[in-house]
Subunit: 143 residues, 2 copies
DNA sequence: GCGGCGGTTTATACTTACTCTAAATGCTCT
DNA sequence: AGAGCATTTAGAGTAAGTATAAACCGCCGC
């Protein structure tokens, strides 16, 4: 979901959540806004820290529940690339990832820049959820 | 690494480990053999259970350390697809995976059956470790 | 055979990411 | 205000994996 502004307003976020049949509570709006303002790949613990930076605002359970809910409703996307944590991605347009095994950082690659062909036909009792490409790299630290 | 026999002998495993500069201890041979006989994708806890099924043979630490060592030396491969655990794969030939989000099962797809083209050029301070494709599906349980 | 020595394994404690539970809070309708 | 449902919360619990420090093993020189 793309916004006209780089930093969507609270009411734009409220609208986005409603569109996806999510009741826009204080905590959900706060978390969603953080994601869409930051436009980066974040883990749940990052969100927990950010959202409680100044004052205690949102519990850990709510952070996890909200990220799960947003992902399930399609507002954001889960990325499984790091063996230690799930990343959440506000970019829901078709794209893939470069994963740096050293820093743990994820970078987007537009799906148009990669083509995957000849995917095998799937048995008809399976429902395709998505095709994820992860390019695993190691960026050499310090020259 | 392919074996003539479907069930490699102990000495074939010993040779395989030596080839990869791994000292073939009792525990390492046991674990590697289990992987290459089973020829499936297994998590560390699966290996721990299997290897200690009858009598206590190998500690948890050694299971984790050995799987890590085998992967690092290229005898087996790690697969990151399930958010809850790392899978280890005795199939090191180029291939990709179908991941069933419901059962947690992984299935191989030969790399020849898929083509990925137009991968973006990587900055020259990054070393490519591999390109992993995961096809996420849900197999509908019970008609 | 004995002592030493590096490499390996072990039990066990610990950490980290995440889930569960049951109570408290809030929101809406009457 | 009170009922009823949705949501949030603190805190306990789980599961995968890591760290630590002691024990053990295989080999070598004596
Ligand atoms: Mn981990
Ligand atoms: Mn997990
Ligand atoms: Zn992304
Ligand atoms: Zn495989």
């Amino acid at each position: 979901m793309l916004f006209a502004s780089k930093t969507p307003t609270e009411s734009e976020i409220v609208y986005l959540l409603k569109e996806h049949e999510i009741n826009p509570t204080y905590q959900r709006v706060l978390i969603a806004r953080l994601l869409f303002v930051g436009r980066t790949h974040v883990a749940a613990e990052d969100v927990f820290r950010a959202v409680n930076k100044d004052s205690p605002n949102v519990s850990k359970a709510t952070v996890y529940n909200t990220l799960g809910l947003l992902a399930q409703k399609g507002v954001i996307r889960e990325v499984i690339a790091d063996p230690d944590r799930v990343f959440y991605d506000p970019n829901t347009s078709p794209h893939h990832h470069i994963y740096d095994e050293i820093s743990g950082e994820l970078t987007d690659i537009d799906a148009k820049e990669v083509s995957v062909t000849n995917l095998p036909a799937l048995p008809d009792d399976v429902e395709l959820q998505g095709v994820d490409i992860v390019i695993r790299v190691r960026r050499n630290r310090k020259k």
